[in-house]
């Protein structure tokens, strides 16, 4: 299943929520959708899920337009919204049963599908509870269960980890990885970027309705952080040498922006790996007792902070 967002634009009166954005992702891929509040993430996700209509542009799901054929497209998309159901008069099981019926599952097929989903999302123990009585994490599971009950090829998850405790987050992450293994195309928005780095293959960074960066995580990291940051740590008890080391580094070629971070010295390496080797050799020759010399990887959070300005529409 290929999801192609093509020149998508959405206006709400004079506000342009989504401004001509294009990206695509495929089965088995987990794509992170990142941006500050009000960037247009939810609007885009709602358009992909056929809830909202685009002002112009389109989203194609294996060639099916979400604007032209929303009924067909709905068979392929499961949407987990950021707000959760809160009925006081319907149980978890009845809720999942309704959606299974609504998506055309009948008889034994339906019973099996609901049981499998209840087990997969670990809601079997609470199936007779009313939705209103559930905690946020449990509601999130029910919401995910609802989106999965008819086995859609594409999953669109809007802030699924928001408000979850650490255990629930780990479980959610595991669930998503399992779904990716089952060849689902997943688009997930979250503000917890460290988690996205761990589970996503690709990322779309959006601000003020415009895409700032898109591609695989590696490509985006390479593109957005071409300079490598190196961290040096001296043997315990030799931290008094830090100012001396800092002074030395500032006079070394290919070193920029050297600074003390906790008990370490960080600097940006403008040269290649040979340059890094030379620097390390030079420092050892000068009797600095180095125990750790490592390259720190830029993560999604660093890139996000670099490329976005925090603007909203």
């Amino acid at each position: 299943m290929k999801v192609q967002v093509k020149n998508l634009r959405k206006e709400f009166g004079k506000t342009v929520a989504v401004d001509n954005i294009s990206f695509s992702f495929d089965s088995g891929q987990v794509f992170g959708f990142v941006g500050p509040n009000g960037a247009g993430k939810t609007t885009t996700m709602r358009i992909i899920s056929t809830i909202e209509e685009p002002t112009s542009g389109d989203v194609m799901l294996n060639g099916i337009s979400v604007y032209e054929e929303p009924e067909l497209a709905r068979r392929a998309v499961g949407y987990v919204p950021d707000t959760l159901p809160a009925h006081a008069d319907i149980t978890v099981h009845e809720y999942l049963d309704f959606y299974a019926r609504a998506y055309g599952l009948r008889g034994k097929k339906r019973t099996q599908a609901i049981e499998a989903i209840e087990e997969f999302t670990s809601v079997t123990g609470i199936r007779e509870k009313h939705l209103k009585a559930l905690s946020k994490g449990m509601k999130q599971r029910v919401s995910l269960g609802r989106a999965l009950v008819y086995d859609p090829d594409v999953l669109v998850l809007d802030e699924p980890a928001a408000g979850l405790d650490p255990r629930a987050r780990v479980e959610l992450r595991e669930l998503l990885m399992l779904l990716a293994e089952r060849k689902k195309a997943i688009l997930i928005s979250s503000h917890i970027l460290t988690e996205l780095t761990e589970i996503c293959n690709g990322v779309v960074i959006i601000e003020r309705g415009k895409i700032l960066e898109t591609g695989t995580i590696e490509d985006v990291l390479k593109k957005s952080a071409p300079r490598r940051t190196v961290a040096i740590r001296l043997v315990e008890g030799n931290h008094h040498q830090n100012p001396q080391l800092l002074k030395e580094l500032l006079q070394t070629p290919f070193v920029e922006n050297a600074r003390v971070v906790a008990n370490e010295i960080h600097f940006e390496l403008t040269g290649d790996e040979t340059a890094a080797c030379d620097i390390l050799g030079g420092l050892i020759d000068k009797k600095f007792k180095i125990i750790e010399f490592r390259q720190t990887k830029a993560n999604l959070e660093d890139i996000f902070m670099n490329v976005t300005k925090g603007g909203v529409q």
């Binding site: 337009s65 309704f98 055309g104 499998a116 008819y150």
Partner: protein, 506 residues
């Protein structure tokens, strides 16, 4: 659905399942405090009422031969008030809440078709009405034992009340589907509440009349059954009309929303005409044809406002459905989405209504009053309606093209309103604060047609309206021809994309 499809559907009757919406709604209704509370209150009121009647009778020395009738009347009023006010309100509010944009339930993005969703909501309302009727039934059956009312009357009134409640439910669902903001929906609910009085009061009065005459004695009459048939057809037509309107309202904008509505309206227009003709033949009174004429006029003026609010741009989905054959394409033009086709459809129906009504009057000249006045009124107001519509279309296209086409209908209504109010206010002040000026001739004001002093003034209106129509048609002609020309199927036939069958997650 093809014949094979229908056969297959009935062959697999063991796999038939209830509409999912009905199951969900009824599950929620039985747990809702509103329904259970109302049902308990309803039963308590019925019980206390029966008790009051029976206790007060025990103090009377003589036998009351009308006790059953009095009790039945009271129960009927309680049932009518409860079911006409409460059930449509409950069903309508639930639909309106689900239709809110911020609702996370996403019922409307499931693969359930819009028709199935509306059918589910309607059936839920009907089941709830049945629940209340069943709760009332033992009390009503008791009244038969107390004399004063016969069983056919009891069942006939209940059936008739049930039809009205179903129609009220469907109307409430339709208004709840209108994509309006919450304040507007609250206004609709208030309007509906007030309108319910207009339903309940005549309903009760008619029921009293039936009770007075006794249905049992009327059942042998031919006219009684024609009347029943007409009432059933009219109620079903109203339910059907609001059903197709509701379906159109929740269908995606890319769908051919106009097609089912226009086909349905054309069919009920034809059936209504035939039914009305039957009455004319039966009663020998051609004036009865006006019932059809007036209701067609009202429905078509509303349709005109909706039709001109259609977008000129057809979605690919609609374009793909345009037939290649020229004859079929011409017919489709009138029934598919689009303002130009809608104008032709409304004009065709109104013209046919006018011609048929006129022909019937010529064929059945047994009339109490002259027919010409009514026909002139019909022609003049229709011409004015098209004047406003075509002018609004021109204004929107020429000056307000950045605004969505849905404002065109509003523009037409504003034009009619402004033309009616503005000159009246000016004349009112010019004529030393006298309202007499309003009664004079005001060309262009459609409402003035209804308060004319003589037929000569009507003629002036007619000339003016047709003159305006000529100009309005001329300035819209280029646009209209463009619309006709662009009403073509796409060049390449694309095979519809395939999506895998839904399989259970297991």
């Amino acid at each position: 659905m093809s014949v094979a499809g229908i056969k297959n559907h009935f062959a697999n009757w063991r796999q038939w399942e209830l509409n999912p919406i009905v199951i969900k709604e009824l599950r929620q209704a039985v747990r809702s405090w509103a329904v259970t509370g109302m049902l308990l209150l309803f039963l308590s009121v019925l019980f206390i009422t029966s008790l009051i009647f029976l206790v007060s009778q025990s103090f009377e020395a003589d036998d009351n031969m009308q006790l059953g009738s009095s009790m039945f009347s009271t129960f009927m009023v309680i049932l009518a008030v409860t079911s006409v006010f409460f059930i449509p309100l409950y069903v309508g509010v639930r639909v309106a809440v689900e239709r809110q944009e911020n609702n996370p339930d996403l019922l409307y993005i499931s693969t359930l078709s819009p028709a199935r969703i509306i059918r589910g909501k309607f059936l839920c309302g009907a089941y709830m009405a049945l629940l209340f009727f069943c709760a009332c039934m033992p009390f009503m059956a008791l009244t038969n034992l107390l004399r004063g009312v016969d069983l056919p009357t009891v069942f006939f009134i209940l059936f008739y009340l049930f039809m009205v409640v179903c129609a009220a439910n469907q109307i409430a669902i339709c208004f709840a589907c209108v994509p309006a903001s919450r304040p507007f929906k609250i206004l609709f609910a208030l309007g509906g509440f007030i309108a319910s009085f207009w339903i309940v009061i005549p309903l009760i009065l008619v029921s009293f009349r039936f009770m007075g005459s006794g249905i049992g004695s009327m059942m042998g009459e031919h006219n009684f059954w024609i009347g029943v048939l007409t009432a059933v057809v009219v109620s079903s037509a109203v339910i059907g009309l609001f059903f197709v309107l509701s379906v159109a309202l929740i269908s995606p904008p890319s769908a051919n929303r106009a097609l089912p509505v226009r086909i349905y309206m054309t069919v009920i227009w034809l059936v209504g005409g035939l039914l009305n003709l039957g009455w004319v033949v039966q009663m020998g009174e051609a004036r009865l044809m006006d019932v059809w004429g007036y209701s067609t006029f009202a429905a078509m003026i509303f349709s005109l406002v909706v039709a001109i609010s259609n977008s000129d741009q057809l979605s690919h989905r609609v374009q793909r459905a345009i037939p290649r054959s020229r004859l079929k394409r011409m017919l489709s033009f009138m029934f598919f989405n689009g303002a130009a086709g809608g104008l032709i459809w409304v004009a065709a129906i109104l013209a046919a209504t006018f011609v048929v009504t006129k022909e019937v009057i010529i064929l059945f000249p047994k009339l109490s009053t002259g027919p010409t006045e009514g026909r002139h009124w019909f022609v003049t107001t229709t011409a004015y309606a098209f004047d406003y519509a075509l002018t609004a279309l021109f204004v929107h296209r020429r000056f307000l093209s950045r605004l969505p086409p849905k404002i065109t209908g509003l523009l037409a209504a504003l034009l009619a309103g402004a033309w009616a109010i503005a000159p009246s206010i000016v004349l009112f002040f010019l004529n030393q604060l006298s309202w007499k000026s309003i009664e004079g001739l005001q060309l262009g004001n459609v409402f003035n047609v209804f308060s004319l002093l003589n037929e000569g003034q009507l003629l002036y209106h007619q000339w003016f309206a047709f003159g305006w129509l000529f100009v309005a048609t001329a300035i819209n002609m280029k646009w209209f021809l463009r619309q006709v020309k662009s009403f073509q199927p796409p060049d390449r036939t694309q095979t519809p994309p395939l999506i895998n069958e839904i399989s259970p997650a297991a």
